[in-house]
């Protein structure tokens, strides 16, 4: 029955957070700092000032190579509501990029547009040199983009190993007849992909869980399995929607290492949404800050951090809030999303985190 309900509500499935625009507050960043970060007085001015898709946003090592992802003026309206507007991005071949912003900023919506779960209302997405116009979610994955979901979407009743094997689907070479009759070809291929699935499990140290049902894993392990599954489709770009949500600090620290390891080993780009600032600041080479569906800042971790207004008004506050919630009630914090929405009231919350 739950299944049916899920289907009925398909339209709303992606508003994971379920918050509207009404309880958001305007934030303005007045300080102008040097470097690549752009902090502006208003979103309008920001739009006028931003140097779109400038190579300047690419990390040193990726300059000169064609970027894996280029997004120009991306926007989407839900009815009369503009969820994302004028989003621009250039992501290097092997860059780890971060997308941050308060709850309801439109981060997940951007992922959904990139993977064509939603068709953008405006703008272009150039993935690996090709426009994704007219592509479906399936085409996008075949083109080399894989993702994880904010609200974990595993194949719950399949085992951990099967979850990865199913992602190896397109590299498994046998037909329906082989599958029905378990021919030698079937056996040979199954043996091969079993070994390959184990290889992915090993990266995350989860070989021991191979035979367990995916739905029965603890939260953190489920998140890791989702990343493995995405990785098994051999993407050029990996999109991670809050990969550290529900993980404890030590798990998060390990996740950071793992993400870096994946990038180095497979030489792919990673674009991630995360509320855990330790992770974002720790591994992201370029960061985009989103609010009300509009970009309010772009730059490296230090550039984003170096703005005292940002720290106080946004990052600091959320850090404090995050710690608090972690201790109090992890469950509740998770369902709410860990970052408090926008910097409302309590100026001392920021200091608390320092």
């Amino acid at each position: 029955m739950a299944d049916n309900k899920e289907k009925e509500n398909a339209v709303y499935e992606y508003s994971d957070s379920g918050h509207g625009y009404e309880n958001r507050q305007e934030i303005y960043y007045n300080d102008n700092v040097g470097g690549r970060a752009v902090f502006v007085d208003s979103k309008e001015q920001y739009e006028a000032d931003e140097p779109y898709n400038d190579e300047v946003y690419l990390p040193e090592k990726d300059r000169g190579k064609a970027p894996i992802l280029q997004v120009n003026g991306l926007g989407i309206d839900f009815g009369g509501l503009t969820a994302v507007d004028n989003f621009n991005l250039t992501l290097g071949r092997t860059e780890i990029g971060g997308l941050i912003g308060p709850n309801g900023a439109g981060k997940t919506t951007i992922f959904n547009m990139l993977t064509k779960v939603y068709e953008p209302t405006r703008g272009d997405i150039i993935f690996d040199g090709k426009s994704t116009k007219g592509m479906s979610t399936v085409d996008i994955n075949k083109a080399g983009m894989a993702r994880t979901f904010q609200n974990i979407r595993l194949f719950d009743k399949l085992t951990v190993e099967e979850n990865i094997k199913v992602a190896l689907h397109h590299t498994t070479n046998y037909g329906l007849i082989d599958g029905m009759l378990h021919t030698p070809k079937y056996r040979h291929e199954e043996f091969r992909i079993r070994k390959e699935a184990m290889k992915y499990l090993k990266i995350f140290g989860m070989t021991k869980t191979a035979d367990y049902r995916a739905g029965s894993l603890p939260y953190g392990a489920q998140r890791r399995l989702e990343i493995m599954r995405a990785l098994a489709t051999k993407p050029k770009l990996l999109l991670l929607d809050e990969p550290a949500a529900g993980m404890n600090p030590s798990e998060t620290a390990e996740l950071m290492d793992t993400i870096k390891e994946i990038r180095d080993r497979f030489q792919i780009a990673v674009f991630l949404i995360e509320h855990d600032m330790s992770l974002v600041m720790g591994i992201c080479e370029g960061i985009v800050v989103l609010n009300y569906g509009r970009t309010i800042a772009k730059g490296s971790a230090s550039e984003i951090q170096s703005n005292p207004k940002v720290i106080e008004a946004y990052l600091g506050k959320s850090r404090g809030k995050m710690e608090e919630e972690k201790h109090e009630n992890l469950e509740e914090a998770l369902s709410k999303g860990r970052l408090a929405s926008a910097p409302s009231g309590k100026p001392d919350a920021g200091k608390e985190a320092e």
């Binding site: 399936v138 009743k157 689907h169």
Partner: protein, 379 residues
């Protein structure tokens, strides 16, 4: 590196969820049931414990088991409700009747005729499944159920208006929507609403049992193959399935067509068990009956649906002595079984009692208690 995290993953919390060797275990139970059933029924018939009436049910029991297994491919493995399974059964039954009648003179070896008929039935039913599946598999849940219901009825009604006969030369004559004039009764193969007549009954218990085993073999193999994984993945999470590049429509259609083909073969065997067979036999009630087997056996539980099919085919015969109250008793039994298998509280109690009296206690301990609980968590 991450091995450390895993230590914090309590292994006890994971217990009961382990599914290693699940397919082998499932296959062993299912084939075991078939073999045990075959031996028991043969012995019962030989010693006269099982009466004539019930012996007449042997082929239908196998056929319904095969139907339950094949429907499980759609309902359990693909996760879609289908209410038109009897339609594919009908397509297979009448195809089989026509094929065996045509071959009767030229091919006297009955098993060979039966095998050719089975293949033809599978192809026709698969084609029907394909034609029906393409437009409807974009639909979901209840809508799909309603449309499959309608198509099942369309197939049956289509059978009401087709006429097949053999002319003097022994060639097949087909006519649509009107009786075949000039062909004597004995040479009529299918006569509209009267259905198939004059069929030589070549279905045997052993043959039907082998067909059930074949159906089981195919479905269990698919379940443990790349195709089956894709089908189950899409069932578990359609959006995630798309995100890893699985073509949802293709795999829904695949499950539907294979299931239809297997139902066609079962229908063919069914048709060869009766000298006359009217299309009305394949009405909505039959579709529901097959679905009841699947639901009673526990959706997705293949051997469960086999047992349900066997018991519910025997039960009405066994209840014959209660004549007037037969259907009432049948309904009451159904309701009781449903409550016992689907009410979590009652299920847990039965599970607790069972774990005490279970002779294979150690083995069942891993997955008895947890399966119900896990189901609830997932909901």
């Amino acid at each position: 590196m991450a091995e450390r995290i895993l230590k914090s993953v309590s292994v006890r919390a994971l217990k009961g969820a382990k599914r290693g060797g699940q397919y082998r275990k499932e296959a062993m139970i299912a084939y075991g049931i078939l073999i045990a059933g075959y031996i028991l029924l043969q012995l019962g018939a030989a010693t006269g414990i099982i009466g004539r009436n019930l012996q007449g049910q042997f082929v239908p029991i196998c056929v319904y088991m095969a139907l339950a297994i094949s429907l499980n491919l759609v309902v359990g493995i693909s996760g879609e409700l289908s209410l038109g399974h009897a339609g594919f059964m009908a397509a297979g039954a009448f195809t089989g009747v026509v094929v065996t009648r045509v071959l009767e003179k030229s091919l006297s070896f009955a098993p060979a005729r039966l095998i050719i008929a089975l293949i033809a039935a599978a192809l026709v039913a698969a084609l029907a499944g394909f034609i029906i599946g393409i437009p409807i598999l974009g639909l979901r849940g209840d809508y799909l159920a309603i449309v499959t219901l309608a198509f099942g009825e369309i197939i049956r009604n289509f059978m009401n208006v087709i006429y097949f006969g053999l002319n003097e030369k022994g060639h097949l004559v087909f006519s649509f929507n009107h009786a075949i004039d000039g062909i004597e009764d004995a040479n009529r193969v299918i006569t509209g609403p009267i259905g198939a007549t004059g069929t030589t009954q070549i279905a045997t218990f052993t043959g039907a049992m082998l067909l059930t085993a074949f159906t089981l073999f195919v479905v269990l193999n698919i379940k443990n193959s790349k195709q089956g994984r894709a089908i189950m993945a899409i069932r578990d999470n359609r959006i995630a399935g798309e995100s890893i590049g699985l073509d949802v429509k293709k795999y829904k259609l695949m499950a539907f067509v294979v299931s239809a083909a297997l139902a066609g073969m079962a229908g063919c065997m069914f048709g060869q068990n009766y000298s006359t067979l009217a299309p009305v036999k394949f009405n909505f009630n039959t579709s529901v009956l097959i679905l009841v087997f699947v639901v009673l056996g526990g959706i997705g539980n293949i051997w469960g649906s086999m047992i349900a099919a066997a018991l519910l085919t025997i039960l009405p015969e066994a209840l014959r002595q209660f004549s007037d109250y037969r259907m009432l008793t049948y309904a009451v039994v159904l309701i009781v079984v449903m409550i016992c298998t689907y009410n979590p509280a009652i299920k847990a109690r039965i599970g607790a009692v069972w774990s005490k009296i279970n002779p294979f206690r150690k083995r069942s301990k891993d997955n008895s208690g947890s399966s119900g609980k896990k189901g609830k968590e997932a909901a």
